[in-house]
Amino acid sequence: MSDFVLEGRDLTKHFTAARGGRWGRRPPVRAVDDVSLGLRAGTVTALVGESGCGKSTVARLLAQVYPATSGEVLLHGEPVKAHRGAAFRAYRRQVQLIFQDPFASLNPFHRVRYHLARPLRIHGHVRSDADEQEQVAELLERVSLTPVEQFMDKMPHELSGGQRQRVAIARALAVQPVALIADEPVSMLDVSIRLGVLRLLEKLADESGLALLYITHDIASARYFAQDITVMYAGRLIESGEAEALTQSPAHPYTRLLLESAPDPDRVTAPETVRLGEPPSLIDPPSGCRFHPRCPLVMPVCSERVPERTSLGEGRWTHCWAAAHPS
């Protein structure tokens, strides 16, 4: 498929554990295994999973923060390997990241103006001081931090969490990227603020044709703000599809569990709770399907072989033996 702006193919990342192996050996942490994911222009794609499932690692692999153990990242269909130097800067001009914590991602000693002017200068988007002033103002306008003159000279501590996150978004937009990766952009913000920031991201994808990856643990927000959802569990992708279809009729038992567990005041009776244990260690992940120790539909084959991708039509697919062999 060539209409992907940014694509990861069979991405695998193994980290070296600091310790924990027997006899002083340092075992690999299989953070991400065989992840393939594509982002389209003007589309919000959500990557949903619990903490520790490897979703942030996928974000960093796509952003070329560190190299993949195997697999490749493609930008406009071209494989890229750009981890340092000029190639990395050129890549960063195309793909930008937004992080979870807006309190940590802005330098407390610098004003908003500085945060926005720096990327403009580094990436050569400004010609003069007047031009810089104008572009900074325009960026603030785009993220609805108005009146612009008032926000330009504020320090980060003078801003609320939501305003800081908007500055971080404006900074990412400064280089005019084609793809934006937002790693839990609202989970540290107050409930009443979240909606505004998500709407802003949605608007940017829509109006500027940005390819947006929205990484979250909150599947309900993914339903509202993403066109496609991909669910990840213990380092592997397990299900993907159009947002509404996936949340209303999940195919994988883990997605079902995730949906049942999310708080929902509209529910008449509380769902049956069975103690399922917790996500597995990625140093020694379960054999076969990584969800099998917690799965209610477990079959003998599940612990033996990793399930292949089963297509369910209309762009939906899942990795599950129960879906591969419906009985």
């Binding site: 009443s192 509202y224 917790e278």
Partner: protein
């Protein structure tokens, strides 16, 4: 009926540039055996209120007024705020226990989980023989779903969910009447969160303690609580049964919160959200603190602060509800 009665409680943070009113004139009742949800955004004073009730506040925070009366199961009422050092020590853990948000920080990293439960028992029930204490420790851990051999484990060897369970086990050690849970599941994943909530409900059924459950996640509160109190800028703006608040919220802030959560099922309702940002407690808006963000605000809202008055179901502090009945 009430196990705890908070009346006109005010807490200030004293700073160089004047006092910040973190909690202002809060009155709340906690009934025996109920789960009372306390919801609000960061800075709304919900944690400060809980810490004031448990007498855990340290300077620069100071309780500037009000009372917190605890009605014991056997015996008369006591004002928690007037307890001396010794009485306070007996009150905490035996009558009122606290479970904090981050169990990683609440547990002692250099002591085993079993030893920490044993510690509570040894201090508060000095007559209990060692063997009985060990039995009780094992029983408590099993009750919250931790296998007995884990009592020799250290907190770092447990996962986040297990640590939170251990913290709940410690809170249960002396069978208190009140447990304050301050964001007990915020750091956990939804699946684990669901298990812990289920556990809390089952334990409540068994032991009959009352819970003050604090969180910013209103949709979670709707599921677990019997009654809910909503806080905004240090004041309670609405109370009511979870069902009533879900069905027909009376305060515009509650309505805004409810309509900020994306839903998982049913039609994709349009999300309203709340414009603006939470207020700065150092310079609160005049009148009703919510009026600059309120969609229904009228001129009077900036002039007069609404009192918390009984409404159709529960109480509400909103001028629109004062004489016109329930806002819709």
């Amino acid at each position: 009926m009430n196990v705890l009665e908070i009346r006109d409680l005010s807490v200030d943070y004293l700073s160089g540039s004047g006092a910040v009113h973190a909690v202002a004139d809060v009155s709340l009742d906690l009934r025996r055996g109920e789960i009372l949800g306390l919801a609000g955004e960061s800075g709304s004073g919900k944690s400060t209120l809980a810490n004031a009730v448990a007498r855990l506040l340290r300077p620069p925070a100071a309780i500037t007024g009000g009372s917190v009366v605890h009605h014991r199961r056997d015996g008369g009422p006591v004002d928690v705020l007037k307890l001396g050092r010794k009485e306070l020590r007996a009150f905490r853990w035996k009558e009122l226990a606290v479970v904090f948000q981050s169990a990683m920080n609440a547990l002692n990293p250099v002591s085993t989980v079993g030893a920490q439960i044993d510690d509570v028992l040894r201090v508060h029930a000095p007559d209990m023989p060692r063997k009985e204490r060990t039995e009780r420790t094992v029983e408590l851990l099993q009750r919250v779903g931790i296998s007995a051999d884990r009592r020799r484990g250290y907190p770092h060897e447990l996962s986040g969910g297990m640590r939170q369970r251990a913290a709940i086990a410690i809170a249960l050690a002396l069978n208190p009447e009140i447990i304050i849970m301050d964001e007990p599941t915020t750091a956990l994943d939804v699946v684990v969160q669901r298990e812990i909530l289920h556990e809390i409900k089952a334990l409540r059924q068994e032991y009959g303690f009352a819970v003050v459950f604090i969180t910013h996640d209103l949709s979670l509160l709707m599921e677990i609580s019997d009654r809910i109190a909503i806080m905004y800028a240090g004041r309670v703006v609405e109370t009511g049964s979870a069902k009533a608040l879900h069905r027909s919220p009376s305060h515009p802030y509650t309505l805004g919160l409810l309509r900020s959560f994306p839903r998982l099922h049913g039609p994709r309702e349009e999300l309203l959200g709340i414009p603006g940002t939470p207020p700065d407690l150092r310079s609160l808006p005049s009148g009703c603190a919510f009026h600059p963000r309120c969609r229904f605000a009228v001129e009077e809202c900036s002039a007069r602060r609404p009192a918390l008055l009984p409404g159709v179901e529960g109480q509400v502090a909103c001028l629109l509800n004062d004489d016109k009945g329930v806002l819709r």
